[in-house]
Symmetry: C2
DNA sequence: GAAACTATTGTGAGCGCTAACAACTTAGTC
DNA sequence: GACTAAGTTGTTAGCGCTCACAATAGTTTC
């Protein structure tokens, strides 16, 4: 594949072949308007014949742009973040951008600063942040990298654009469904409260209950993992305070289901369970999980829309919200 | 964060401040041996004072290296590939490399070529490929990008290095465990046979059975998804030909478990089940899944080791193999 | 038909860095 | 003490591209 013996052709070589100046070739490449049709065609032919490809380093050196988007993420192997990343990557590559990633091992101010510096060294044109901790937003606010920043999973801030799935709405859908089924004591297994999404879901749960005149005092906090769902499930199986549970994500739901199964608590006959995310496996839990679907790919795409209009049109900070969707399966029914 | 009003400092600025030539500063940055200790310290002080950072584009323009590793992947949101990616990213960043990604929407020669071109445009120093289809290796073999290539999940080929978890060995561990428990009719639910791993696992299964003098005629092919595991499970529940099943991955196992549960087939009492991967959730299936653990992070790290020695020491094509590990949980027992 | 535009093309400089070489210092050798 | 070797520093020339500007050709206007 090219790059073999002979030097890669450069602008000058194309120019010579087409009988024009290097600057004219540059104009053709960059779609400048003032190039005659005949010349453009001649240049394009020369480009094709020589297999010319623009040298990004040289371009980057002079323009101080790199056609690269940096994606900063943590928990990148989890279903949600991984799919958001994919959405961003696809949208970015379609728009002709490279995608550089930095995965945070631990979320700390220092680690975030490091990663941002890493990106700035690379002269990225923009940074997408998939770090769902509230702390992150503060760090970004303080840092002001000098390039557009889009935070996925938050509404952003004064200096940072945001793209998010409406978590609160999702929680309301879930709780609304349980209320409709006739449940009155609806508990919540929350995610870690330093996660923006976890807080929003808890708020949505609470808001929906209060709007219906119900109590919102049954909350336990997990850590997103199936293991924590299992531990909590064992306790709840013993107590039996609620007839329905809204769980912060599908993985905790899995652990919960397992604990209930061990303890002889039947789902949905004894307790209804609703999850959040709709991972591909959730339809095959025992029983299949009623849950709230988030379209992460769409989220990633929206995120790049924001980014591109910030980079290319110089748009300022803005926000986009993706609607979640309730998926009803076998883990919910009317209370006994 | 820097990059504000005033121009970023460059080599020349540091040189002036330290009272040396720009070339001496360059030597300090690149750790050339022949710089006196006093000068080096003076230069380092100047670098710190000015907050100097090397311009990668300029460096890249002259060296034709970019300190960037391209990672080409498909199915990047799946547990295995996602974690391999993380392993590669960590190892790469630790070694001072940037990581650029390209996610394939569909695996085709043309898409692979496109992605490789995309990376070459960026002058990547090496390409890591996480595309577990046999076809991919052929495309790479044909392409010869001109930079080192490491294929994850294969033994590589003449021109491509390989880093893999020993799939065949993993299958043998799984099947060995079932045989030890006393099973004699052990079926296999294979992954799609255009995946290298799927083939290797099937071979391991087959080899272990034949070594024990048992039949290897009970195979069905799924597509890795929980859905396909479910469909297959429904059929197998009706037929009841095997007393134990070695399933190609954990997701299909989940679907299988679900189908068995619906059909009243008890696991492990009626049928034992072993999965592959050991995803974080697998210990919370009903019942908890016996499975084969793959250390994807380690795999990613090994992969970067190969890459770095190819780039820096000019090592030729080689191979590394990571050992899998059997994790015994509740889904296996002696046959009735 | 000269002035005043507009569309098209070319020229020169320089982005910030490294590689190759030149030059100077200091020490080591006989 | 002249001659070499080794260590240290400086000088020059690009890498391939875009930007600002200059130059030319073609078109309109009164």
């Amino acid at each position: 594949m090219a790059k073999t013996s002979a030097r890669m052709p450069r602008l000058e070589d194309v120019a010579e072949r087409a009988g024009v100046s290097h600057q004219t070739v540059s104009r053709v490449i960059n779609n400048h308007p003032n190039v005659s049709k005949a010349t453009r065609e001649r240049v394009e032919a020369a480009i094709a014949e020589l297999g010319y490809r623009r040298n990004t380093a040289a371009r980057s050196l002079v323009t101080r742009k790199s056609q690269t988007i940096g994606v900063l993420g943590s928990e990148l192997s989890q279903y949600g973040p991984a799919n958001t990343l994919l959405g961003v990557e696809h949208a970015a590559r379609d728009a002709g951008y490279f995608v550089s990633i930095a995965a945070l091992r631990a979320v700390s101010r220092e680690a975030i600063f490091d990663a941002i510096r890493h990106f700035l060294d690379q002269s990225v044109d923009g940074i997408v942040v998939i770090v769902p901790h509230s702390e992150t937003l503060l760090a970004l606010e303080e840092l002001k990298p000098g390039v557009p920043v889009v935070a996925v999973g938050s509404l952003g801030s004064e200096s940072v654009s945001g793209a998010m799935v409406d978590q609160k709405r999702g929680a309301e859908l879930a709780v609304g469904h349980l209320i409709e089924q006739g449940h009155r004591r609806i508990g919540h297994i929350a995610g870690p409260q330093d996660w923006i999404d976890a807080v929003a879901r808890a708020e949505g749960w609470s808001a929906a209950l209060r709007a219906a005149g119900l109590d919102d005092n049954l909350v336990v906090e997990g850590d997103w993992s199936a293991g924590s769902g299992y531990e909590i499930g064992r306790k709840l199986a013993a107590e039996r305070t609620a007839t329905a549970l809204f769980v912060g994500n599908d993985q905790m739901s899995l652990g919960l289901l397992r604990a209930f199964s061990e303890a002889g608590v039947r789902v949905p006959e004894d307790v209804s369970v609703v999850g959040f995310d709709d991972q591909p496996e959730s339809g095959y839990f025992t029983p299949p999980l009623t849950t709230v679907r988030q379209d992460f790919e769409e989220l990633g795409r929206r995120c790049m829309d924001l980014m591109l209009s910030a980079i290319e049109k110089g748009d300022t900070v803005s926000t986009t919200v993706v609607e979640p969707e309730l998926v009803v399966r076998g883990s919910t029914s009317a209370p006994a």
